[in-house]
Amino acid sequence: MAEGELRAVDGLSYYLRKGESLAIVGESACGKSVSAMSVMRLIPYPPGIIVGGEIIFKGQNLLKISEEEMRHIRGGQIAMIFQEPSTSLNPVLTISRQLGESLELHRGLDKSAATAEALNLLKLVGIPDAEKRLNDYPHQFSGGMQQRVMIAMALSCNPALLIADEPTTSIDVTVQAQLLELIDKLRSQFGTAIIIITHNLGIVARYVDRVVVMYAGQLMETGPTDVIYAEPRHPYTIGLLASVPRLDLPRSRKLSVIEGLPPNLIRLAKDRCAFLPRCKYAIGRCNEEKPVLEKAGEEHYFACFVDVRKQSESEGLTSGKR
């Protein structure tokens, strides 16, 4: 029997401009992947329901169009790459067939033209000896190479938006850097807007224009990357930034720990700030009502009653300043 309703994503709003890159940041089960799957309308029903809200893509509400229309957008206008490239590729199809399939479907190419285009794409994403690798199967590729194929596939129809869900989490750092540089290069080359879903705050700092910080399915803070890292306003953002070890800082710096555990989404109090049980800045008002988004600066919004700037400077908690 159902224990209750789980709000995986609860009242999340964000926007993304043409050619811009946005990161959705948060820990596991904060709803970052679910929010992206919703954009693609890939939430399995049942049990998942998009209860409310709108997803406007190029002026069109994606929640209102037919499944048929959605199929053309998915993979065509909006493409997605996932965490595990090995489980996203079809093991019994050659690389050339997998790439060709979406080219034939979305771009109406015939088989030989699709194969030729597949070759171009493999070269574009930097697969060495692309001609020889066309007829290989996914298991003959390393994890990094498989993810390159996924990127090639995602870009094959020149999408306006690419959603990358933890694209490099299972991949080694030196190869991770290669892939992220590739995605970044393709973004500037083709003007594709990008949503990167990640828990890695370093990747966000290096590659992304704007950030959305989520906790327990809700938006805690959003703003331009430089601003969020230099002047975070939400206690959760501050805690997150101060809890990661940094290569460039002296080792004597203590990690500031966010005490407690992420909440159980079923038992979450709906009329209070989701972060309240773990928050060390909490004031009396936090126990009375739930904060709404407040403007902190240009495109910078946060949901918190407390002015952390006054407290954190005396305690030296912000990691951005040394």
Binding site: D172, Q176, G202, A205
Partner: protein, 325 residues
């Protein structure tokens, strides 16, 4: 340095795994997981072991614990070659060397309570019984930040971070001198990672432990370790003090590895030099000749393809294996 300052000494360690094929399961090749490495861990220090997947860091950790029959080389624990110790002696040795695993989901028996999981090593090694057992068990729970009343719960009732605390308590139960931590935080969320890292550091100080900390996350390894050893394809590339690692990396691989890790501060990160490596890590079945890193190295010259560089001391406990340094 006095030799009794050294708890673990590894000399020319080699660990090859055979690849068997065909109906007769004949050996066709070897996976050269660890291919001749040497290092030491001083009493009370943390040595970090980093590298990408397949570099042999986990295998090294397991060899040091005597969990494999090593192909070649020697592993000394307090001056005793552990590969030569058998039977009862080995068991006594094992009590002093424990392991914390990467995956807190797979490394706890789902049918045992947390109390039984943590207590089992105490019973096996006859560390305590009766009242002393119960007292020490409660103490272990408190030590790792769990409540003793949780001892009747089963692993599935705990979160990932709490399970890792159980894994740590289990390792501590027999009061070891040395613990190999194999990727102990990589399966955990960012905020929980910090909790477990701080716990490990606190325990090391309170109990005077020595760690070999195996992980792929350079930032975490540098933070927790006194010295860091960088491995590449079964070889040691560089060993240096943690402070020196970021400021003065000498091996081209270490430099590339460091630059591949973005710093979570856009202003700082923008000013860093980026070195992008080409290609993937080659297979350890058929490593390149000479320096294993030479096909991906931007500094490589002819000698790098022909001759394997030796790990040598460049001063101040800084060791590097590169012809160009």
């Amino acid at each position: 340095m006095a030799s009794d300052d050294i708890l673990i000494r590894v000399e020319d360690l080699v660990m090859h795994f055979p690849i068997l094929a065909g109906v007769l399961r004949r050996k066709v090749a070897d996976v050269k997981a660890v291919d001749g490495i040497s290092f030491y861990v001083k009493r009370g220090e943390t040595l970090g072991l980093v590298g990408e997947s397949g570099c042999g860091k986990t295998t090294t950790g397991r060899c040091v614990l005597g969990l494999y029959d090593i192909t070649g080389g020697k592993v000394f624990f307090e001056g005793t070659d552990i590969t030569k110790v058998t039977g009862k002696g080995r068991r006594a040795l094992r009590r002093n060397m424990q392991l914390v695993f990467q995956d807190p989901y797979a490394s706890l028996d789902p049918r045992m309570t947390a109390g039984d999981i943590i207590g089992e090593p105490m019973l096996v090694h006859q560390v305590a019984a009766g009242n002393a057992y119960r007292e020490q068990l409660a103490e272990l729970f408190t030590m790792v930040g769990l409540e003793p009343r949780m001892s009747i719960r089963y692993p599935h009732e705990f979160s990932g971070g709490q399970r890792q605390r159980i894994g740590i308590a289990r390792a501590l139960a027999v009061r070891p001198k040395f613990i190999v931590c194999d990727e102990p935080v990589s399966a955990l969320d960012v905020s929980i990672q910090a909790q477990v890292i701080m716990l490990l550091m606190k325990l090391r100080q309170e109990l005077g432990l020595t760690y070999l900390f195996v992980a792929h996350d350079l930032s975490v390894v540098r933070f927790i370790s006194d010295r860091v050893a960088v491995m590449y394809l079964g070889k040691m590339a560089e060993i240096t003090r943690s402070d020196e690692l970021y400021d003065n990396p000498l091996h081209p691989y270490t430099q590339a590895l460091l630059s591949a890790v973005p710093i979570p501060d856009p202003v700082v990160d923008r000013q860093r030099k980026r070195i992008l490596l080409y290609g993937d890590v080659p297979s350890p079945v058929n490593p390149p000749s000479g320096c294993h890193f030479n096909p991906r190295c931007r500094m490589a010259i002819d000698i790098c393809k022909e001759q394997e560089p030796e790990l040598r001391d460049v001063g101040g406990e800084h060791w590097v294996a590169c012809h160009r340094v």
